[in-house]
Symmetry: C2
Subunit: 449 residues, 2 copies
């Protein structure tokens, strides 16, 4: 049975008030699916279904719900029920939730946690939005360096239930300074009497609370870690970041790149869940800037008014020429931006990119110019000179567009800007102006205008 | 010490022939870093460094090398050394390598594996390129349902060394049919005398050998799995897929989307490592198609030649108008494409998208039209009617562009095409034609041309 069929079955059971079967079916589901089901339900039914869940599952489902649904449930349940859920939740999920909830609800949530948790939550909430601290969790397994493998495994079995992962254990000294890391794999594959300090990795890859989460994602990606330790300025272990949160970071960063590259201010929300006025606001800024920058192309065109009133045919090719330039430029900029995101291209590779785009544009420009020449030569008999102007303009535009498109994202990086803003929309605007200028200069020479 | 500093140190040690220290330093590094260091070295030095590595580390480093470097090393080492490396390598890495190596080298590699491995490699090589089978590995841990927790843990400790992950164990029956899955976490957190079949998840999420790897990535992403079992048509467990390979799949798919959205044929290679002629070839196809589709805008413009020779000022605003349309359209199409990739937007949401884009475009179009009217009214005194034409054209273009931009990616999906091709370049071309038509029709009415 796939997810949709399961949802249909659950809805039917709910409608027929067959709560016992419903409960049996629902606890078999993954918490992600249960959350999605609850989000689909009207308020009263959502709370009925939520109350069916056993305690730990309820906490997992709750952590997966979107803020609105969390809020609705908090509103309906007792303080005691809320306390149970909060007890079972991981710190990173709790902090994520707190960041979104309105102040009044946060107050009630904090009231229902114990004092230690309250302190940790307040500390975690202070970490900057994009920092490692903002995505870490406080529940990890720590071992002592002098434990034997047997002691370590027993310790994990006894105390591990609250840890977000058991698969990496962190070795700390009495001041909580991070000394090493050991995987559960290493523990299990070694003899019981071996000592943790002999087996652990002591040159630990770690991140600092204030490190940018994108840099943390890069480490996970490069080395395939399951989790990474987060330390404070005294090298004390304060939390861990797990791969599942990093997958979300990677996905959000990619979405942000797509949005930036389409000249939209990133919203951090799913498309269908963003109100129309908010989508409009995020898009208007760049649309306006780019529209007003049309003053440049307008200026160029009005300077050459005499040329195109003398030979109106010249106007016919303007959209084709500017589009080809825009496309050629955004091909280059997109590939370079993506290469920079993947750390395949560094700022120091500037000359390599320049040389590569130059060769690519020579090949592509020549090809397009020839195709264009042949096509127009046949379609516009007797206009050989105009056809030559258009073809030469295409050749030069492709070269210019690709070189500019390849270099601008790198220039952005040098000036500490996100390379993604140097994408199609901006490149198109810049290349448009250059290609129109070229076109009319060539027309002036060849057609004696 | 960061990666660059380490590399400098290693290079210095290598230059000074201080091999003992070099070896000590190098075995402390992560295999990913060692691979990158070896790839930077000239051939003779690369093989010296590679031979310093202990056996298991050598296999891990080897698996991380790019094909060219692997080939150089295979060429230099003895059959016995090659056999040792192959023994230690995981099946998925071996198959990845085989797919890239030239036939002669593959032959030599196969000769140095045992018969069982050779059979598995040959079977794995037959799975289609984008299938689950092509990214799975054959080394997993399997348990029997009637084992106790203690027996299971002992079994894993004894037989787990060759498994790619110990953290999910698969329960199979005597016909290798998949019966359940149990995490190492569950095993460790339960009492020694509990029975695996009582603890395991028996409604196992699994994928079929021929499933598309993008669908597999979606499952990992939705449910945060560490690994998923792969079964054949008789439901027999044939391999597993681990999260690290899925991160690569996700990254490749995203790169492919970026390439497609920039009207480039995906190359599957890093930018700096793709030869110029290959980059040119991947870009020329769409550039040519889009350039030739300029015949449409050209046709429209030549139909209205009389209009713009009568009022040449109209030409001045063409690039601004078409760019605004292109940008407005690609904002919509990019967000919808990304939403579809993330499974946030389904084809059945078509009406919702239409309604949303319609409202967004009303707001954005009105705003842009007003700004434009004010700007042009000031800049072009006495041309109120032309200014009105341009502003109305912008308003209508933004609406058209956003609705078309929002719907075309969904239409692509209906026709089983990748929505990513309905991105900026194609949308721009389509919207250009529509906006120019609108512009001159409006000009005809309002200016009586």
């Amino acid at each position: 049975m796939n997810f949709e069929e399961k949802i249909d079955l659950l809805n039917q059971l709910l409608e027929e008030n067959r709560f016992k079967t419903l409960r049996e079916e629902i606890v078999e589901l993954n918490e992600v699916d249960i959350s999605e089901f609850i989000e689909m339900l009207p308020k009263e039914k959502a709370i009925i279904v939520f109350r069916f869940l056993p305690k730990d599952l309820a906490a997992e489902v709750f952590a997966n719900l979107e803020t609105e649904a969390q809020q609705r449930i908090i509103h309906e349940i007792t303080d005691q029920e809320l306390g149970h859920i909060l007890d079972e939740m991981f710190m990173d999920d709790m902090v994520d939730m707190m960041e979104e909830l309105p102040a009044g609800v946060v107050k009630r949530v904090l009231k229902n946690t114990d004092e230690a948790t309250r302190g940790t939550i307040n500390a975690f909430l202070k970490y900057p939005k994009d920092s490692a601290g903002s995505i870490m969790t406080a529940e990890f397994t720590n071992l002592r360096a002098n434990m034997s493998v047997k002691e370590a495994i027993n310790y994990i079995r006894k105390h591990g239930a609250d840890s977000e992962t058991l698969y990496n254990a962190y070795v700390i000294d009495s001041n909580r300074v991070l000394d090493g890391v050991i995987t559960l794999r290493t523990l299990l594959l070694n003899r019981d009497d071996e000592i943790v300090s002999d087996l652990m990795e002591d040159d630990v890859t770690k991140v600092h609370i204030s490190d940018d989460k994108e840099d943390v994602a890069y480490l996970f990606n490069r080395y395939d870690y399951l989790s990474l330790p987060v330390v404070d300025s005294e090298d004390r272990l304060v939390g861990i970041i797990t791969y599942d949160d990093i997958i979300d970071v990677m996905e959000d960063e990619t979405t942000e790149d797509f949005e930036l590259m389409a000249a939209t201010i990133p919203s951090g929300k799913a498309y269908l869940k963003t109100p129309a006025w908010e989508l409009a606001r995020n898009r208007i800024v760049w649309l306006t800037v780019l529209m007003i920058s049309g003053v440049i192309t307008g200026g160029i065109l009005s300077r050459y008014e005499e040329s195109f009133t003398a030979i109106p045919l010249l106007v016919t090719f303007i959209p084709m020429l500017t589009n080809t330039g825009g496309n050629a430029g955004s091909q280059a900029s997109t590939l370079v931006i993506r290469g920079m995101v993947l750390n395949e291209i560094e700022v120091s590779d500037g000359l390599k990119v320049l040389w590569k785009e130059f060769r690519v544009s020579l090949i592509a420009g020549l090809f397009l110019a020839v195709i264009n020449y042949i096509r127009l030569y046949i379609s516009y008999p007797g206009q050989e000179k105009v056809v030559l102007v258009v073809s030469l303009a295409i050749f030069a535009t492709v070269i210019l567009a690709k070189v500019v498109g390849g270099l601008l994202p790198m220039a952005a990086k040098v000036f500490k800007l996100d390379p993604a803003i140097m994408a199609a929309p901006l490149i198109t605007t810049i290349v448009d102006a250059m290609s129109l200028m070229l076109y009319f200069v060539l027309a002036g020479w060849i057609l004696n205008l």
